[in-house]
Subunit: 106 residues, 4 copies
Amino acid sequence: MADESVRDALAEFVAERDWAQFHTPENLAKSISIEAAELLECFQWGAAPDDSAVRDELADVLTYCLLLADRLGVDPDRIVLEKLEATRAKYPVEKARGSSAKYDRL
Amino acid sequence: MADESVRDALAEFVAERDWAQFHTPENLAKSISIEAAELLECFQWGAAPDDSAVRDELADVLTYCLLLADRLGVDPDRIVLEKLEATRAKYPVEKARGSSAKYDRL
Amino acid sequence: MADESVRDALAEFVAERDWAQFHTPENLAKSISIEAAELLECFQWGAAPDDSAVRDELADVLTYCLLLADRLGVDPDRIVLEKLEATRAKYPVEKARGSSAKYDRL
Amino acid sequence: MADESVRDALAEFVAERDWAQFHTPENLAKSISIEAAELLECFQWGAAPDDSAVRDELADVLTYCLLLADRLGVDPDRIVLEKLEATRAKYPVEKARGSSAKYDRL
């Protein structure tokens, strides 16, 4: 995820603007929530969403996620795959197949 | 972002469990907000955050973002880079450097 | 909470605009999250918040909470007091005093 | 909203536990977002929500809203009514009736 060129482009963008000072883990976490809600707003009243707005807001959430991953010194690909293994154990196929129930209700 | 192996691993995980039926764009957008808040909870009261919990929750947000990108048929790398160009125009270096002000307040 | 006049004013406002059709519990829950994030945005980068914006966004969150309470047929005062009793049991004074730890970590 | 007895009960609960130190406006804003997402989680996958869970989570959002109102020294009823007047101007009945469109799209 976020191959070298994307992450380098983001890091350069931030450095040019001297913005790293604002990118504390907490501020980035707040930003992820803020952008996630702007994405959710595309679906607020049940009307057909504006595809271009959805893409734009999703890009904002992803951008802040990548900035937080870099700030924490973790690789986004790696943490997703690690979490997938933990989720695999909580949702064995034979119990979870076809169900949206949470793991403690399977 | 999300090289082939990560996205394939996620797609396979979802297919094995027949979960694609729940992954409407709206449900995924809700999920991104829900996980973003669990990430924010690591910073709720100002105490030093639990690094392992932060990584775990960030992984959850990223996972749902990748699932939504796939559902929309967009490439995560690409939409982040496209958005970066739009942001570059709204925040020219000479005006935005060192400032956290929103673009309409520069 | 929300004495008769506030709740009546809200109900009348919604009825005049024929908006009740959009106020499903789910749409109201989404709206509460969306407005909560706009409130959070006042604190995004750590600068001193704009008091008037904070009040405005808090009003929006409260408005949707009252609309949801009405939609569910519950009294806001009552559910807050009921929840307070449950919280009292989870956070006995002798253990919780001066601590921001979650109940399972006291 | 939040008649004397509810607000007094909350203030007393917080004082007994010496928790006011954690209730900065920012921490309360984060808490409102966190609880709003727990409310949203009741509707995550489209299944019929658990009414008791919805009421419980709504109570949590309301609780933090009341704590923030007190911390800011504002009356919840009053700010909701003030905001309603501003919204009335943005959504005149003749234009907004029956529409979920945002005010700049009426």
